[in-house]
Amino acid sequence: MADFFVNKGFRPRRQSNPQLPPGQYETTDFPVLTAGPTPRIALSQWEFRLEGLVEEPVKWSWDEFNKLPMQDFNPDIHCVTKWSKFNTRWRGVSVDTLLEHVRLKPEAQFVTEFSYGGYTTNLPLADLRGGKGFVGLQFEGEPLAPEHGGPARLVVPHLYFWKSAKWVQGLRFTAQDEPGFWERAGYSMRGDPWKEQRYLDDDEDAGTGAIRL
């Protein structure tokens, strides 16, 4: 199949930008994409847990979590629905900081992020370590709004943004890469925007997977 044919007369209206992964365009808005109603979580009920393949599970209340060391980070974010947003302003807790509070079992290689409302998404543990993953609590200097995942969401900016669970409730460490909500529906297990891994077929080991949409 000819992958490349030119659409006569089609010219880029936007400057091409090396910050932009393939197939993406820049927006200055912050679009919302969610599969169902926005969960509302009272801060008095909120907790964040690390569980699964750890020696001792740990959990924090909202107040305890907010006493953890925080940092500012300013990532570009890339949504699989094709928009990218540059230089966003966040404050939150690095996953590296959270991991100082548990001892991982050696077979822990993957993570399921799980959320209030039932959302899940999966990724390799290596994608959350080394300053690559955060729990974001503030966006542009304000508490994170519910429609954007507040009170807290994962922020894993080097992957498509569905890998950054909104309304996050915790991380579960697993030995196998267990497909989450969108992944079970045929989206990529890894979701690297620079490799344009939107769907399962785009994964590097595609063809071995049992899941077909």
């Binding site: 199949m1 000819a2 992958d3 490349f4 044919f5 030119v6 659409n7 006569k8 007369g9 089609f10 010219r11 880029p12 209206r13 936007r14 091409s16 393939p22 197939g23 365009y25 927006t27 808005d29 679009p31 919302v32 994409l33 969610t34 599969a35 169902g36 109603p37 926005t38 969960p39 629905t81 094709k82 928009w83 409302g117 039932g118 429609e147 969108w182 529906a185 045929g186 769907y199 077929d201 785009d202 949409l213």
Partner: protein
């Protein structure tokens, strides 16, 4: 070939729906029946290799085989929609892949729950695929579409929806005009709110499956209100169009 491979579709018809919305009929060399609510990716390539991709909901039902209809809204300064509106004619080729999306879909089997559809503006497109599928298969499951538009000329598929409602007592069409209603209009003239949603829910049997599609503000309000009215979150499926469009 995999249905996620790109294929060259041929434009066989272009139909204006409103001043800012057109429907493109694309003949596909490799048609895969979709589920009502799924979308296709469309990709444009410029001289020199620059590419732009967007996702568009399929408006036609899966029973319309060999082709798909994509209904596209012209976005201000839209790189892809602008080209589709000005640069594409019948007979041209367009690269597409799909169908994609396994969540915001209505399989539409007999005995399905009643169907509450709420669409804002071009958010009606995937809902139209559901209604056309329901009609083509002859399903009698009660269905109601609440279509929220700014002005009468923004109501996509209006004539077809009116005809569908005339012909089928199990289907109800409810319109709300948020900016300007037709002369003599006695119906809703506001954004959806709790009283409006309570009234439309009362016109359906209990425990409907709800599909809500449109701009973020509308979807937030409608989904939260439906949930507050006692429907379980699993009965409310949403698809949001950011202000940048799809």
């Amino acid at each position: 070939m995999s249905r996620l491979d790109w294929q060259q579709a041929t434009v066989t018809a272009i139909r204006p729906e409103t001043p800012r919305v057109k429907t493109f009929t694309l003949a596909l060399p490799a048609f895969t029946p979709h589920l009502a609510g799924q979308h296709y990716d469309l990709r444009l390539t410029a001289e020199g290799g620059y590419q732009a991709e967007r996702s568009y909901s399929v408006a036609s039902p899966p029973e319309q085989t060999g082709e798909i209809e994509l209904t596209v809204e012209l976005i201000a300064d839209g790189e892809v929609s602008g080209y589709l509106f000005e640069g594409v004619a019948v007979g041209d080729l367009l690269a597409v892949r799909g169908p994609i999306g396994g969540y915001f879909v209505w399989p539409g089997a007999a005995g399905a729950a009643p169907l509450l559809l709420v669409g804002g503006g071009s958010g009606v497109v995937p809902l139209m695929a559901m209604l056309r599928h329901r009609q083509r298969v002859g399903l009698r499951v009660p269905a109601l579409l609440l279509l929220v538009v700014r002005t009468p000329e923004d109501a996509i598929y209006h004539a077809e929806l009116e005809a569908m409602a005339q012909a089928d007592p199990a289907f109800t069409l409810v319109l709300s005009y948020t900016r300007q209603a037709p002369a003599g209009w006695a119906g809703y003239q506001r954004r959806p709110d709790a009283p409006m949603l309570a009234e439309v829910l009362a016109r359906l049997p209990p425990s409907p499956q709800c599909y809500v599609c449109g701009p973020t503000g509308l979807v937030e309000t409608v989904a939260n209100t439906l949930q507050a009215s006692g429907l379980p979150p699993t009965a409310i499926l949403t698809e949001r169009f950011g202000p940048t469009g799809r």
